[in-house]
């Protein structure tokens, strides 16, 4: 059997699709759903560019088969905000120049989004450690750390 029907939630919407069993979750989202925000940087689970959130956990989408996401809740970078209304994390990235070419950025955002949900008051060291699985060749990381701290602060502030 080389194809399967899968049923999952992606960014809050129900999706039904037929997918080849060897297709990764990343390639499925990009190729079949047109959600090209998730990027493939290495396809062997090191660079972290493909990080997204599955069932509330940050996951490397290149190391999951699409069929494994059947019945799951998938969140991609497209769910965080819009160009007119960036989320506090996205806004912080812009404020602190935490992106240059933007290729690793969706992975950075989703890793931090998942992390900040459970760790609302991280230190600089903790941020650097949680980002150790996300490679960036452009920024040198400092802006990303600054942005994460700002976002954490904004998220903690009373609404």
């Amino acid at each position: 059997m080389t194809a399967r029907r899968i049923n999952l939630r992606v960014n809050g919407r129900t999706v039904e699709a037929e997918v080849e069993v060897r297709v990764s979750l990343a390639d499925f989202l990009r190729g079949q759903l047109g959600l090209t925000g998730t990027h493939l940087g290495c396809e062997h689970g090191v660079c972290g560019a493909c990080t997204l959130i599955v069932d509330r956990r940050p996951v490397r989408a290149c190391l999951m088969l699409a069929v494994q996401a059947d019945g799951s809740n998938v969140e991609t970078v497209e769910s965080l905000g819009t160009r007119e209304a960036l989320s506090p994390l996205q806004q912080a990235f812009s404020d602190h120049h935490a992106l240059q070419c933007g290729f690793c950025t969706p992975g950075m955002l989703m890793t931090l989004e998942a992390y900040l949900r459970d760790h609302p008051a991280p230190t600089r060291e903790e941020i650097r450690e949680v980002l150790s699985g996300n490679l960036c060749r452009c920024t040198g990381y400092q802006g990303i750390v600054d942005a994460a701290l700002q976002a954490a602060q904004v998220r903690r502030a009373p609404a």
Binding site: E20, R22, V23, R30, L35, T36, G37, T38, H39, L40, G41, C42, E43, H44, V46, C47, A49, T76, V77, E78, L80, G81, T82, R83, E84, L86, Q90, F93, S94, D95, H97, L99, Q100, C101, G102, F103, C104, T105, P106, L109, R124, I127, R128, E129, L131, S132, N134, L135, C136, R137, C138, T139, G140, Y141, Q142, G143, I144, V145
Partner: protein, 775 residues
């Protein structure tokens, strides 16, 4: 003219799109009927193909074609044109889009599979029966330089393709009369590109017109068009090349690659759009990289440690071809004397072929190598004469009052190099002050109590930027009042669009949100060169300034007629030209643009040409020299040899800062890349030329958990060589970084440890050196 945006840390206009998953990189491009390609690559470093049997591959469902070079004979043939011809390279040494019968590096493309999906294309690769005869391979540049070495190209007598020489002054006399001379050998290694986006191409042919369109993740879309045009024998008007969003370039994406040509040829041959996306393993194998330079240098200094002269030679690993000519070794050569006011130098670089993927510039190009050897020589002088390292610099640097300073070096076109402005000693003093060098010995003592070795390192560099001859831009105001900036300059994350928007918004008095920037599309702007050598802010930025000023002047001319006032009574801001002091007496740019767009039968204002638009080309034959000093503290665990960078301070002068946030980003990114070169990144091959580090488990990139926060202090000495007073900033972070890390490690190990003459260094190396101290 307003400077509302110039110099301000304006938020990037690219960001909202990139932050919300709206980037459009080459793999995001989908065309109707598009097929997918994969390359059959040489499994050996040197071989001769006996036969290729495609029958099993073609039998796999979903496989449309398997092409070798002979299948393209009706379209084009022969080696690719060289990107940078050089008089020393009488015959260019380039590869074919797909190899002929001799393969010369592991990973060289042999055939291209066209299929319904990338996965099935890879299935087909596995089914191709390749019969290849192994030939002896040269995998080390020093060995390859020897007469008895295996020939990298069987038809070339020698692997030495050129000896480049840079000389200045009376070298023999300077050395003969110098108080001290000593010789040192260095091994510098720099790795690969590793932008997080690999390379990729989408090629398609328009049926009716036959026009070819290429989307490519490239720093040089105009070069791709130029060379494809010449190779295919078709006019460039029938070829469109676009660099969409590019996920990092760093040098290697500036080359024109065989895969770009092969994908174009395949699209022409099969009549359908073809996409090829490089995977990370291919990036390790087939994207150009830097590798080794082996130096032996002698330095002469006076009795007080003032460096007088440097002479010696270098063996440079060029890889199996020279697609980028001799630019990389030339850049290393042209980087002498760095910030040092040497009376004489004589440097020879032997450019040697090896059966490894070709080398070409990676962020900094050869400048980091030269900075490394010069800084190590300076530290060596300090060590031998018992002087503080910074004193040797103070005595040897070019002084601010010597500017403009003719160095004795030569540019690419042979003209003399002259540093334009700068205070190198000032930058060094600033960085030593900011890192509190005065308090360092106390900190070293405190670290020793914790069982750690602390070292202070410093390094300086000069960075040539703004390479000519030109870039261009056009600025156009639309009838709705938007300002469209078009340029050939390609971006890979530097934020050029924001910078150009800042310049145009200031010149035309509009809000930055009303500026639209289009770039890197050969059909949208006629000319472009390449985004390399930290040149775009200077050249394209200046072009935007020139074009925007022309538009401003034209708008004022038209407004003067429409408002019936003198031009000198007019100001421009808030999207309108108005009488100075009388805001209500105005005409909007939108109105002027509409007027100059014409209406049937209505005359235009007197002596005014249609269109509120202008084009500017900033031409330059001179370079603008950025420079800086960096200092850092490294803490070593003497049990493991682990070296941790705990403080890092940069003083950097790149002239006027258009956007300080973006400059800081370039410096920090560049520094971290340099740290990677100092401590982590090594491309390994075995003796038969087989790459050993081909995944991110083997090849270590710097990660967030080990990198320091980087403190930056800007010095702004405007460059007199362009209308906006800027200098480039793309590589200045990287150039001295490996030098200072090594300098700090050497300082931590103390004067009884052997001098460190190589990079990258590993914890194992450090432990070895510590052992020699104990012995």
């Amino acid at each position: 003219m307003s400077t509302r945006y110039f110099g301000a840390p304006v938020a990037r206009i690219e960001d909202p799109r990139l932050l919300t998953g709206g980037g459009r990189y080459v793999d995001d491009i989908v065309l109707p009927g598009m097929l997918h390609a994969a390359f059959l690559r040489s499994p050996v470093a040197h071989g001769r193909i006996r036969s290729i049997d495609r029958s099993a591959a073609l039998a796999i469902p979903g496989i449309h074609a398997v092409y070798t070079m002979t299948d393209f004979a009706g379209i084009a043939s022969g080696p690719m044109p060289p990107m940078a011809p050089h008089p020393l390279l009488q015959t260019p040494i380039t590869c074919r889009p797909l190899t002929d019968d001799e393969v010369r590096y592991a990973g060289e493309p042999i055939a291209i599979v066209i299929a319904d999906s990338r996965a099935s294309a890879e299935d087909a690769l596995a089914a191709i029966a390749l019969d290849i005869e192994h030939l002896p391979a040269a995998a080390d540049a020093r060995a390859a330089a020897a007469k008895a070495a295996p020939r990298v190209h069987t038809e070339r007598e020698s692997n030495l393709i050129a000896t480049m020489r840079g000389t200045h002054g009376k070298v023999d006399a300077v050395f003969a009369s110098a108080a001290h001379r000593f010789t040192e050998s260095f091994a510098t290694h720099r790795g690969g590109c590793h932008g997080m986006e690999c390379r990729g191409v989408v090629a398609s042919v328009d049926g009716p017109s036959g026009d070819l369109t290429l989307f490519t993740s490239s720093q040089s879309p105009y070069m791709v068009r130029r060379f494809l045009s010449s190779y295919l024998g078709r006019d460039e008007s029938g070829i469109r090349v676009v660099a969409p969003d590019v996920g990092g370039g760093f040098g290697p994406k500036a080359n024109v690659y065989p895969e770009e040509f092969a994908v174009a040829l395949a699209a022409i041959r099969c009549g359908r759009p073809v996409k090829w996306i490089e995977d990370r393993q291919e990036h390790f194998l087939a994207t150009t990289q830097q590798r080794d330079q082996f130096w032996t240098l002698e330095v002469a200094c006076d009795a007080h440690g003032r460096m007088l002269g440097v002479r010696g030679c270098c063996i440079h690993d060029n890889g199996a071809y020279a697609p980028y000519g001799l630019i990389l070794p030339a850049t290393a050569l042209a980087s002498f004397p760095g910030p040092y006011a040497l009376q004489a130098f004589d440097i020879a670089i032997d450019v040697v072929l090896t059966n490894l993927v070709p080398t070409s510039p990676v962020r900094g190009a050869g400048r980091p190598n030269t900075a490394f050897v010069l800084e190590r020589l300076a530290d060596g002088v300090a060590r031998r004469l018992g002087l503080p390292r910074e004193e040797v610099r103070r005595r040897s640097f070019v002084r601010a009052e010597q500017m403009p300073y003719v160095t004795g070096g030569k540019m690419r076109d042979g003209s003399p190099v002259a540093y334009d402005s700068g205070d190198y000693i000032g930058a060094l003093d600033l960085v030593l002050d900011k890192i509190d060098a005065a308090g360092f010995e106390r900190r070293r003592g405190e670290a020793a109590k914790r069982g750690r070795l602390l070292g202070l390192g410093l390094a300086s560099c000069v960075e040539d930027t703004g390479l000519g001859p030109f870039e261009g831009a056009s600025v156009r105001v639309t009838p709705s009042g938007k300002v469209v900036v078009s340029t050939g300059a390609a971006s890979q994350g530097q934020g050029h669009a924001t910078v150009f928007a800042q310049i145009a918004a200031d010149a035309l008095g509009v809000a930055i949100g009303d500026v639209i920037v289009r770039s890197a599309d050969t059909s949208a702007f006629p000319l472009g060169l390449s985004t390399i050598a930290s040149r775009i802010a200077v050249t394209a930025g200046s072009s935007v300034e020139i074009a925007a000023r022309k538009v401003r002047d034209k708008a004022i001319k038209v407004a003067a007629q429409l408002l019936e006032v003198a031009e000198h009574d007019l100001d421009i801001n808030d999207g309108a030209v108005h009488v100075a002091g009388v805001r209500d007496m105005k005409v909007t740019l939108a109105t002027i643009a509409r007027t100059l767009s014409g209406a049937a039968g209505v005359a235009l204002p007197k002596e005014i040409e249609p269109d509120l638009a202008a084009t500017g080309y900033f031409e330059t034959s001179q370079l603008a020299f950025a420079y800086g000093s960096q200092a850092c503290e490294v803490e070593i665990d003497p049990e493991t040899g682990d070296a941790k960078i705990i403080r890092y301070v940069v003083a950097h002068d790149c002239g006027r800062l258009i956007n300080p946030k973006l400059v800081d980003g370039q410096i920090r990114g560049g520094v971290v890349h340099g740290i990677g070169n100092a401590l982590f990144e090594r491309m390994r091959h075995d003796v038969s030329g087989q790459p050993l580090t081909t995944t991110y488990g083997d090849y270590l990139l710097p990660a967030a958990s080990e990198m320091p926060d980087i403190e930056i202090h800007h010095i702004e000495t405007p460059s007199p060589r362009n209308p906006i007073g800027v200098k480039g900033a793309g590589e200045g972070g990287t150039i001295p970084a490996a030098a200072w890390v090594i300098s700090a490690i050497e300082d931590a190990l103390g004067s009884r440890a052997p001098p460190i003459t190589m990079h990258p260094v590993s914890p194992e190396n450090i432990l070895e050196w510590l052992k020699t101290i104990k012995a």
